[in-house]
Each structure stands twice: as C-alpha cells, then as structure tokens.
C-alpha cells in the first residue's frame, strides 16, 4: 500500500473513532442531564407512596 494511502486510511479511522466518541459523549451527557432533572421523589419511588388515589 502506498504511504499516502496508508496515512489516509489511518486518518479516516481516527476521524471515525473521534466523531463516534464525541457523539456518544454528547448522548450520555444528555442522559445524565435528564436524570438530574427528574425529581428526587421519583428516583426514590416515594412519589408512589403518597396514596394520591385517596385524595380528592
């Protein structure tokens, strides 16, 4: 394989890996923000213990 083609291939692989990593990073960051935004009572399950069906 010629040297310039080899470096082109390496660059392509690097770009693929980097873009995938950045995209995944952003997705997991959004997931973390979503979890932080959910109320504490929902995470702990105490929201279901308030017997809301008996309230008028």
């Amino acid at each position: 394989m010629p040297a310039d083609r080899y470096w082109h291939q390496q660059l392509l692989v690097g770009m693929q890996g980097l873009s995938a990593f950045l995209f995944l990073w952003y997705l997991f960051f959004l997931l973390g923000q979503m979890l932080l935004a959910i109320p504490h009572s929902f995470h702990e399950g105490t929201i279901w213990q308030s017997e809301w069906w008996r309230k008028p």
Binding site: V13, G14, Q16, G17, S19, A20, F21, F23, L24, W25, Y26, L27, F28, F29, L31, G32, Q33, L35, L36, I38, H40, S41, F42, H43, E44, G45, T46, W48, Q49
Partner: protein, 559 residues
C-alpha cells in the same frame, strides 16, 4: 434476483440453534462479557450517581466521557464475540486480532452503533421499521470482518442481510421479546426474594426488607433489573443473528454445505483410498499381482473390518435418526406452516371443549326432564329443553348480579370504616411506639410531641425519648432538610443533613446530639432520666426554632 424462502431457517429453529451454539462454546461468552460487564457496571454507577447525588451535576461531563469510552470497548468485544461464533460455524481457527485491527473495529462499530442509540428508539416509536433497523445493527456487529474493512461496505452488507427473510426476522424478535419479558420478571422476583431469604435464614436485615415492596419503585432497582436482563439475553440474540447472517451469506458462498460436509470428508478420503487399491491392482502384471496377493488379502480384511465397524457404529442409538425408516412408510409431508398447524390444533381443542359442554347441557336437560315430568310443567316439553337452559342461565345471571351488589356493598362499608378510622385518629393514635417498623413519616410533628408528653406523664421515658426523636425527624422532613424514607437509617439522615445544611452548623450539632442520645437509650442499655428528657427537649426546641427562623428569613431548606 429472487430468493426462495425455502432456504430460510425457521425462527424457532434459529433460536434453538443459537442456544446450542452458546452451550457448546461457553468460552465465546468470555469475549462478550469482557466488553459488556464494564459498560453495564459503569452505566449503573452513572445512573445511580446522577439520580441520587446532589453534586453529580458538577462532574456529569467527565463521567459521560468515561461511559462513551466504555461503550466503544463493549462494541469492540461484541464484534469479536460474533466473529468467534462465525469462525466456529465455519470450522475455522480463531482469527488474529492485531492492535491496528482492534482500533479499526472499535472506530467502525462505535460510529455505527452510536447512531443506534437514536435511531432504534425512533424506529420503535414508528413501530413499522423496527425489525429491519434492529436486524441492521445486529448484523453490523456480526459482519465486521476482513471482508468489510470499509464502513460503506459494512453498511451495505448489514442492510442486505437485514432485508433478507423479514418474516423470520420479525418472528425471531417476537420470540426473544417474550423470552426477555420472562427473564425480566424472573430477575425482578429473584432480587426481591433474596433479601428476604437472607433475613429468614440468616437474620440479616437489608434496605429491601426494611422498605418492603417500596424498594421496587426506585429507578436504580429498575435499571439493575433491565441491565441484568440485557446481559442474559443479548449474547443469545447476537448468536441468533450470527446464525442468520451465516445462512444468508451461505446462499452465495455455500459455507453451510461445506461446514456440514467437513466431518464426512475423512470418510470419503478413506473410501477413495480403498477404491483406488483394487483399480490399481487390476492394471498390474500377473507377476506383480502374485506379489501383491498377501497385501490385497490383508487390505480386504482391513476393509471388511472397517465395514463391520461402520455398521456397528451406525447401529448405535445416537445415529438411529440418520437411518431411513424402511419398516413404516413416511407420512406425507404437511405443506401447511407451523402457525397454521398450531392454530388448527388450538381450534380443534376449543371445538372439542364446546362439544363436551354441549353434551353436559343435554345430559342436564335430560336429567331435569326425568325429575320434572311433562304433566307438571306444560311449557317444558321434552323437545324444548332449551327453555330449561334459559332458566338456568337467567339464574346464573341473577346470581352474578347479586354477587356484584354484595361486593359493592362491602367495598362501600370498608371505605366508610377507613374514613371513620382516619377521622378518629385525633383521639386514639394506632401507632405502637415499640414497633420497629414505624417511621417518622407516619405522624406529623405535633402528634409525635403529644405522644411524647403522654408517655412522659406515664413514666415511660425511654419510649418518650423515641417519640421526641421522631418528632425531630418529622420536623426536618417537613422543612425539606431530609427526605424521610422507611429504609433510611439514622446515619443516612445525618449524612443527608451534612450534605444539605452544611451552612447551619448549630443545626447539625443539635441533631447529632439528639441522635446520640436516642441511640444510647434505644439501642443501648443506658437508663433514661428526667434530665435526659429535658436536655433532649431543649435540643428539639432549638432545632424547631432554627428551622422556623430559616423559613421566616427565606433561607432555602435544602441549600
């Protein structure tokens, strides 16, 4: 090119083959779990931390970066797992994975599979393309080998295989969805029952036994159940899609035939050697033939022994299914699909059941006809027995209506009694202060205080101290300093208070003193005197003042 569906392996057979493939090669699972376990553990840590830790927002970004790296690691090893299974199917030696190949595979897989995190939920929302999209992402992991070095080639190959045999693909997904549902329920029940087994057999109390069924409603528990289900099911799904791709590709390469024929090639070589011997002997001169006579007879003995051995082996039970059944003619092949046959069988059972019920009703009518002769009832003639059946069904309907009315009446009465109990709690509290299961959230602060006063008046100082301590907790819970939960320990409340109200050192000191006094008296052997009660009440009043003062000046409770 049109493809006949006859070549498609059935979905049920494919799932069975996947199970057998994994059972015969458990070492391949090591490849899968080397990649999947770190990611799943990291994801659970991330989930738990982001959902509970109030400071988690400050390091969400670096944690997400770590999770992205673990995802890439998992996808690399999933591709290796699928390649290993493909090698087993082809009866090929394990492939060599150089460092450069690992990097290339990780980059390709990460880029393709990362889009799946967005595309798969969207496809599930639309529902119609989900089967094809899911198969595409599974195929992308399976087909990432030397033949698909470029991303474009991998993409095209995965789509080609995903478009193949859609009926089989959707049926396969249905089977795995049902299976996953059962696995999910099993794991959830197992996780709930193990703490109770520990409690009953070893006396070990855990957060699950303290909080009962409420432990199932927190999101971390649900995330753990889903993660364990994924770890159980996903290798099986990947094995099934590896088999599916193997069948799909074999339509052009014939790899499946080669894999089936390989064990028989050795026998064919021996047969060719044995056949070549007599042919070469026929071409010899008489002198050469005379010289070869002992060798030929020895070879004939050898071939005779080989035939006998083959016959003996074929008589064994495990090879019996390969032999033709000459005694009984084979039944004509059923052209209908298995689904049609199953539905026919099911409808036959229902029809037989209906006929049985019909016979019972007729027998009942005959019996009633004998018991009540014709002259006693002019309307009920032997021919119009259905009038009797009509009366019976009217009776059953009336009974059901009565049952419904009785149930409704009981429900209204029980509801009224509950309301009456709720209204009468002001005068007679149903709380037993000695009960270890009670929590500060069971009563408001004032009720705990009044209970403490009653207990002090009766001289039950130890119980009064507990009521006072619970009033402190209720006060802190009302003001948002802590979140009351049945499974939390005193140390949990103290840690929560340290985290939330570090700007109020006096509140922390007072609560710490209250907690120590309560634990000394309740869990230890320290006697409780009037001075202890008076000191405790002083701390409790001060805590009440601090909380009220903060609320008056507008300081946030959970700053």
């Amino acid at each position: 090119m049109t493809v006949r569906n006859d070549f498609a392996p059935g979905a049920l057979a494919l799932s069975e083959q996947a199970v057998h493939l994994l059972r015969r090669n458990p070492a391949a699972l090591a490849d899968y779990y080397i990649g999947a376990l770190p990611f799943v553990l990291g994801m659970l840590f991330f989930w738990s931390d982001m959902s509970r830790n109030p400071d988690a927002g400050s390091y969400c970004a670096p944690t997400a970066a770590g999770l992205a790296a673990l995802f890439m690691w998992m996808k690399l090893w999933q591709a290796r797992f699928c390649r290993r299974l493909t090698g087993i199917l082809n009866d090929a030696p394990p492939e060599h994975w150089s460092k450069a190949r690992c990097w290339r595979t990780a980059a390709r897989q990460a880029l393709l599979q990362a889009t799946g995190l967005l595309v798969l939920p969207l496809a599930a929302l639309i529902m119609l393309p989900l089967g094809w999209v899911y198969a595409f992402y599974q195929n992308a992991a399976v087909l990432d080998g030397p033949a698909t070095r470029q991303l474009k080639g991998l993409y095209k190959a995965a789509w080609q295989q995903a478009a193949l045999w859609p009926g089989q693909n959707h049926l396969l997904l249905t089977i795995f969805s049902l299976f996953a549902t059962f696995v999910l329920a099993d794991i959830a029940m197992g996780l709930m029952l193990v703490p109770y087994l520990l409690k009953w057999l070893l006396g070990i109390e855990t957060a699950f036994t303290f909080s009962g069924m409420h432990a199932m409603t927190n999101t971390t528990f649900l995330a753990i159940v889903v993660a364990l289900t994924y770890l159980c099911i996903d290798p099986l799904i990947k094995a099934a899609y590896t088999l599916r791709c193997f069948s799909g590709l074999s339509r052009r390469t014939g790899d499946d035939l080669l894999a089936v024929l390989k064990p028989f090639l050795k026998v064919a070589v021996i047969a060719m050697v044995l056949w070549a011997g007599p042919v070469s002997a026929a071409q010899m001169s008489p002198a050469e033939r005379a010289a070869q006579v002992p060798a030929v007879s020895a070879q004939r003995d050898y071939s005779q022994r080989l035939d006998d051995t083959i016959q003996q082996v074929l008589q064994q039970r495990r090879f019996a299914w390969r032999l033709p059944r000459e005694k009984s003619p084979a039944p004509p092949p059923d052209e209908r699909s298995w689904l049609t046959r199953t539905l026919r069988w099911f409808s036959g059972i229902i029809t037989a059941f209906g006929n049985s019920v019909n016979r019972w009703i007729e027998s009942l009518a005959e019996w009633l006809g004998r018991r009540f002769p014709q002259e006693e009832d002019d309307r009920a003639t032997p021919t119009d027995w259905h009038v009797l059946i009509g009366f019976i069904f009217y009776g059953i309907g009336a009974g059901l209506v009565m049952l419904l009315l009785i149930t409704l009446r009981r429900w209204f009465r029980s509801r009224l009694s509950v309301q009456a109990k709720t209204g009468s709690t002001d005068t007679a509290p149903p709380i037993d202060i000695n009960d270890e299961e009670i929590s500060a959230e069971d009563l408001p602060r004032d009720r705990w205080l009044s209970m403490a006063q009653e207990l002090i008046a009766r001289g039950d100082l130890r119980q009064a101290l507990r009521a006072l301590y619970l009033s402190v907790l209720a006060q802190l819970g009302d003001s948002g300093r802590v979140r009351l939960a049945r499974f939390k320990s005193n140390r949990d409340y103290l840690n929560e208070l340290v985290r939330r109200v570090h700007a109020e050192p006096e509140l922390l000191t007072r609560f710490d003193r209250c907690m120590a006094a309560f634990e000394r008296a309740w869990y230890g052997m320290h006697p409780v005197t009037a001075k202890h009660i008076s000191d405790f009440k002083g701390d409790q009043a001060r805590i009440f003042f601090l909380v009220q003062h903060a609320a008056t000046v507008g300081e946030p409770g959970n700053g």
